[in-house]
Amino acid sequence: MKAKNSPVRFRIGKNGFFKGVVIAFAFSCVIPLLFILAYIIKAGITKINWNFLVNVPKPVGESGGGIANALLGSIIIIAVAAVIAIPIGILGGIYLSENRKSKLAYWARLSIDILQGVPSIVIGIVAYFWLVKPFGGFSSVSGSIALAIMMLPIVVRSTEETLKLLPDTLREAGFALGMPFHRVVLKVIVPCGISGILSGVMLSIARIAGETAPLLFTAFGNPYLSTSLTKPMQSLPLLIFNYATSPYNDWHDLAWGASCILLIFVLVLNIFTKIITRKWKVQL
């Protein structure tokens, strides 16, 4: 009996050991994130005050100054990108979910898959040749379009996935009432999948809010406050990149504050998305 028992005991011990290893590895992933969060917030939160939010950066050597230009720029660039990408993305997602078998849908789906994997820097290059070079200068709207291209696959995919999960009986119910196609889609299907679509939209905004690479060659950055869509514009990630790699401590401080704001914005948006998805979920 004992001879038979001891390998079992060994196996049980091994089982426990590996469970411990898995748990240790799994939870240690969280540690760097917590470090980063703690560090950024600790370094950044002290820099944030009213002046920081409403002033533009001062030249090197002068202390003080703020990131108003980057804040406003980020808001404008993201808003324009969202205005471009959300309708196109949702309609595209609808197209993919409604035409599951057509040839064009196959290619469109493939394109979206490709687009999702394209490195952001490549999008930046392309946007540069499409929108910067032909129009003779960096502009915020070119940055917005580059970001919109980055948003597109996320919105399209989440819309498609959400709508695909809705039962066909819902569409049929709509059609059987004599509803035209567009009303079935807009009044029945989209409202039922609204939580999934919204979460896709918000996640895509969170994603582009921190994107820097496509903006390097498009919005470019601007040390002054600008609201013109055709002029270069500053944005938070650009400001962080430029000031973080600069040798000046004052600028580092600005970058820490900006990082903190950007991080909080992105995290809040992510958490908010989780909550909204759960709350707005239509019970089928």
């Binding site: 119910a173 059609f175 004599g178 089928l284």
Partner: protein
């Protein structure tokens, strides 16, 4: 005096190359309950969905022939008009999950963007729910979501939704197959009341149900209409041996 309301002439339906409904000719008299039965895959649901042009919503599906509704060919009309005149109720209750009971009943108006005064909407909701014997059960909770109701109530809500559009014909695609026996018999009783105002075509794979509720029965087999007759006759003295074999359960 019975007058024909729906008449199919040489109706054929296909899924790609698959010929699922073959040359169906059938006359459906007004204010009758017609049961369509047959083994699964016999084309009965396809035929039913052909009547209000739901068939062609499936990619690759096509149809040939005529389906006359009041001497107008359904195949020539725009599907939207057809579906306004021919209501449909599905296998699983499918109330709109994002709408209240009240809005579900008038969904046909609301979601089609037809504006109605509040008083008229109230009237339609009450009348429709009364017709499906649901008014007394839900009149105090009209603002709750339609999906809070039980399965049988949901199905009656869906019937009310179809009835609210005042169609001439109501199609039922296995309307009780997802319901428990009690709800099933409630819905079946409803058919007898509804036939006063509407013509009902019911697809069912439950032949007892066909026998219980219908005036006339059509038996489909392998896409063909094998027999179409008074239900009483069909179940006591079928003409075709295939029908006999099917209703006696001797199908091989």
């Amino acid at each position: 005096m019975e007058s024909t309301i729906v008449r199919s002439i040489d109706y054929n339906a296909y899924f790609g190359d698959n010929h699922v409904v073959k040359n169906v000719n059938i006359d459906i008299p007004k204010n009758n309950v017609i049961a369509v039965m047959g083994p699964s895959g016999c084309g009965k649901t396809t035929f039913l969905r052909g009547i209000n042009r739901m068939h062609e919503l499936i990619p690759g599906a096509t149809a040939k022939g005529k389906i006359m509704l009041d001497n107008e060919d359904v195949m020539e009309m725009h599907p939207i008009f057809v579906r306004l005149k021919i209501g449909m109720v599905f296998q699983r209750p499918n109330p709109f999950p994002n709408l209240s009971i009240y809005d579900n009943v008038i969904a046909g108006y609301k979601l089609n963007g037809i504006k109605l005064p509040k008083a008229e909407k109230d009237k339609i909701v009450e009348q429709s729910l009364t017709k499906v014997a649901l008014w007394n059960e839900v009149k105090d909770q009209l603002n709750k979501k339609g999906t809070f109701l039980s399965g049988g109530q949901q199905q009656r809500l869906c019937i009310a939704r179809a009835v609210a559009m005042e169609p001439e014909v109501l199609l039922f695609d296995e309307p009780t197959s997802a319901l428990d026996p009690i709800s099933t018999s409630t819905v079946e009783e409803l058919f007898h009341d509804l036939k006063q105002n509407y013509t009902l075509i019911i697809v069912t794979h439950n032949m007892q149900q066909a026998a219980r509720v219908s005036d006339k029965t059509a038996f489909f087999y392998m896409g063909e209409l094998v027999e179409y007759d008074e239900t009483k006759r069909m179940f006591t003295n079928p003409r075709d041996t295939r029908t006999q074999n099917y209703i006696t359960g001797r199908f091989s």
